[in-house]
């Protein structure tokens, strides 16, 4: 009886663990083509987009982005538009400005996605246009490319809109999927800044962080001080999900400030903080670890190695200690 209960417990634990791993695998990438509406008041606003899974190699996705006469925004549909199109209220209107876009994923190497992109202006302020392009693009997650900017005539209808539409811009990006608003997964990071003292003991600062996969999780440690300098250490972590291995990209920023600065020069710009930092540096690294595992990551030397700015902290043996786990 006890053995059967034990076996059931093991099975339940395995099931929970595998469903967690499956949830992590669901995160992937999307090629996103979007048209933003540029307004005189408010600047560029994301309007509409179409997206395709880069894993569908060789399969072409098509979209038509269009602004209809007497419409204040943009529309997107899968079929091409002609001179006329149906508005959201069911009425037929003239197409005022439009693009036809097609994307064909070609290959994926790691997180770099290559795809064939073909686009053309099918309507430009109520007229046909010869402007088009057909190119191969490679993007990594978070990267984007502007493709075309179509100024909009101030005389163009609709006159009923409060906002003045200045331009429409077409762009393509590679984004993580699902987008943060739809991603319920939550990760917890225990992060310590550890300093090993000359007597062998450790001094540490703890931080307890929470964030989402593929999104920067910022951290800020308290200032470290030396007799004449102070060191601000901050940065962000970006964590990519994996079935058994979690990949973490750490970006560490250091700022060394003189604690005994000379008097502020009279001509120094008003409103600018005094003293300016001796040094501002940024380093990045990627590591892989098992969820729940505690690892130590030695920090690179602080400051510019070619100046004396970092000398005050050169002997400080600093490292991160971290543990990452998914809690939802």
């Amino acid at each position: 009886m006890k053995l059967s209960v034990l076996a059931l417990g093991v099975l339940l634990l395995q099931s929970a663990a595998s469903s967690l791993a499956d949830a992590q695998d669901a995160a992937d990438l999307r090629i996103v083509v979007s048209v933003a509406v540029g307004r005189a008041d408010g600047g560029d606003r994301r309007a509409v987009d179409g997206e395709v899974d880069p894993g569908t190699i060789g399969k072409t996705a098509r979209w038509a982005f269009s602004r209809l006469t007497d419409q204040c925004g943009m529309g997107v549909r899968a079929e091409p538009v002609g001179d006329l199109a149906q508005a959201s209220d069911g009425t037929t209107k003239n197409v005022y400005s439009a693009w036809a876009v097609q994307v064909t994923p070609a290959r994926r190497v790691g997180d770099a996605v290559t795809f064939r992109l073909e686009w053309k202006r099918t309507r430009d302020n109520g007229k046909p246009s010869p402007i088009r392009d057909n190119t191969e693009v490679t993007l990594r997650p978070g990267q984007s490319l502007s493709l075309d900017l179509m100024p909009q005539s101030p005389e163009a209808p609709p006159h009923s809109c409060k906002e003045v539409m200045k331009a429409l811009s077409l762009s393509v990006a590679l984004k993580h999927h699902p987008e943060p608003n739809h991603d319920r997964r939550l990760i917890a990071v225990d992060l310590w800044l550890v300093e090993r003292l000359p007597n062998g003991k450790e001094r540490s600062q703890p931080l307890s962080l929470r964030g989402q996969y593929n999104q920067p999780i910022p951290f800020y440690f308290d200032t470290l001080t030396a007799p004449t300098k102070s060191l601000d250490l901050f940065g962000d972590l970006q964590i990519a999900p994996g079935q058994r291995i979690t990949e973490i990209t750490i970006t560490t920023r250091t700022r060394v400030v003189d604690l005994t600065p000379p008097p502020r020069p009279a001509q120094y710009p008003a409103g600018s903080p005094w003293p300016p930092p001796d040094y501002v540096g940024s380093t990045t690294a990627t590591l892989r670890l098992v969820p729940g595992e505690v690892v130590s990551v030695p920090l690179p030397p602080v400051g510019n190695p070619y100046t004396h700015d970092a000398a005050a902290f050169a002997a400080r043996a600093l490292s991160f200690r971290m543990r990452v786990r998914q809690i939802r």
Binding site: D278, Y279, L287, V297
Partner: protein, 113 residues
């Protein structure tokens, strides 16, 4: 999951017992009540037992020893469970399972003066 209270009886009867299970049982308030009940019951039973005074006197030190041990186990068990409920002390980093020597790359950034 509720602790195994039978281990308290095994302990008082001087039978083989699992120290960790006893600690868990005594860390629980119910377990401590059971311990007290068992001790009182055994004391009452021995008081009614028509044994020779010499014999009872012979057992008294060991009973005291048992009681002292029970109190000690209860204290340690209670401390351990209380410590577990508070959670890990995040102010002190746990020992690292391994040191990861990463390859740091400089990122172009604005420089100071």
């Amino acid at each position: 999951m509720s602790p195994n209270y039978e281990v308290i009886s095994d302990f008082l009867d001087a039978e083989a017992f699992e120290p960790r299970a006893l600690g868990e049982a005594l860390a629980d308030p119910v377990g401590r009540e059971i311990l007290i009940d068992f001790v009182v019951l055994r004391y009452a039973a021995q008081a009614d037992d028509p044994v020779a005074p010499e014999s009872r006197a012979h057992w008294r030190p060991s009973r005291l020893l048992f009681a002292a041990a029970a109190v000690l186990v209860a204290l340690i068990g209670g401390y351990e469970v209380g410590h577990r409920q508070v959670g890990p002390d995040l102010t002190r980093p746990p020992a690292a399972a391994r040191v990861v020597a990463v390859d740091w790359h400089s990122v172009p950034e604005e420089s100071g003066r």
